[in-house]
């Protein structure tokens, strides 16, 4: 009987220790993530308008954008070498964007992109919320449509590509 009790106590202890040491759930996982496959087009427009070295092309910002307009991901890369934005940089940009306000982003995506202005990064980009970089986008312009269409799950690739060139 004592042996069984000991066994139970040991098992409970092991479970508690295991729980205390377990890796937390991936904090980047969100309930309804926006499309990752088409994000490369969105990323290029974002990098163009927001990713210069003195804005979000820096590790000093919560919204951190890697790409060919500024900060590079590879240790041996440089902003001056003219290499196009890499897939690895797009992946990092995606994680940065979805990690800003995951719950709100999830809600916006789940509701088909409704009221994207709920997202701080949309408001700041449009200049409707205080933003040191003023308003790099205007509601309805190419890059704004690119972002909102992505949030709606229907990425307007053509508008994104136009936004990336403006």
């Amino acid at each position: 009987m004592n042996a069984r009790l000991t066994l139970i106590v040991v098992a409970l202890g092991a479970i508690m220790i295991g729980g205390a040491c377990s890796t937390p759930a991936d904090s980047r996982a969100i309930a309804t993530p926006p499309d990752a496959a088409s994000f490369g087009h969105v990323a290029q427009a974002l990098v163009r308008h927001c990713g210069s070295l003195d804005c979000h092309g820096t590790t000093k910002r919560n919204l951190r954008l890697y790409g060919n307009e500024g900060l590079r991901l590879a240790a041996d890369a440089s902003p001056s070498i003219g290499v196009p934005t890499t897939d690895a940089e797009v992946s990092e940009d995606y994680l940065s964007v979805i990690g800003l306000e995951p719950e709100i982003l999830s809600a916006v995506v789940a509701e088909g992109g409704a009221r994207p202005e709920r997202l701080t990064f949309v408001r700041k980009a449009r200049g409707t919320e205080s933003h040191k970089g003023d308003a790099p986008l205007r509601e309805g312009d190419e890059t704004d449509v690119c972002i909102t269409s992505w949030l709606a799950g229907k990425t307007d690739v053509a508008r994104c590509d136009l936004g990336a060139r403006q």
């Binding site: 210069s52 902003p79 040191k132 003023d134």
Partner: protein, 176 residues
């Protein structure tokens, strides 16, 4: 009455001074720049390659405030870098295409004050002299100090110092 006024004025000055010294990040950044180079006094030729607007932000120096300023060098290497004299620095607003130019002095430095030009961002920048020009391939979003981004060594977060690359360009200009 005079005593009250004196105390009031003194208090306001003390509060203002305290407020100005309450940004340790800014203070540390200025401290990190170090002292003046030997033989170079304060003035248009001092502190080449440093982020000018860190101090010339409206509170220090004469002129107290720059809207944009920096240093241009002849070549990316070798050290020590050679300042580029007589380089035309052209700023172009991306949206309205309006431009403003400044010229480097013998220290390679240039500066623009807000009364001369207050840029509306984003802008692109090119440097040129005779038939040689170098152009930024990206834009400036808000930083008025070239050295806010252009620092040595070259790396993922910096293209290195601003140089007048020895690449002949038709007409000495860049297509923005």
């Amino acid at each position: 009455m005079n005593a009250v006024r004196y105390v009031l004025v003194t208090s306001v000055i003390a509060i203002a001074a305290a407020a100005m010294s309450c940004d340790p990040v800014h203070s540390d950044a200025i401290t990190a720049l170090g002292g003046e180079a030997p033989g170079v006094g304060t003035g248009p030729e001092h502190r080449g390659g440093q982020p000018c607007l860190l101090c010339h932000d409206g509170s220090l120096g004469s002129p107290a405030q720059f809207s944009i300023a920096g240093t241009v060098y002849e070549m990316p290497a070798p050290e020590p870098a050679t300042p580029a004299l007589g380089v035309t620095v052209t700023f172009t607003n991306i949206n309205d295409k309006k431009t403003f130019t400044a010229t480097t002095n013998q220290a390679g430095n240039f500066y623009v004050t807000p009364s001369q030009w207050a840029p509306s961002y984003p802008i692109t920048v090119s440097v040129s002299r005779n038939n040689t020009a170098a152009c930024m391939t990206t834009h400036v979003g808000r930083e008025g100090s070239c050295a806010g981004c252009h620092v040595e060594p070259v790396g993922p977060a910096s293209p290195g110092r601003v140089v007048l690359a020895p690449v002949p360009v038709d007409g000495g200009a860049c297509s923005q």
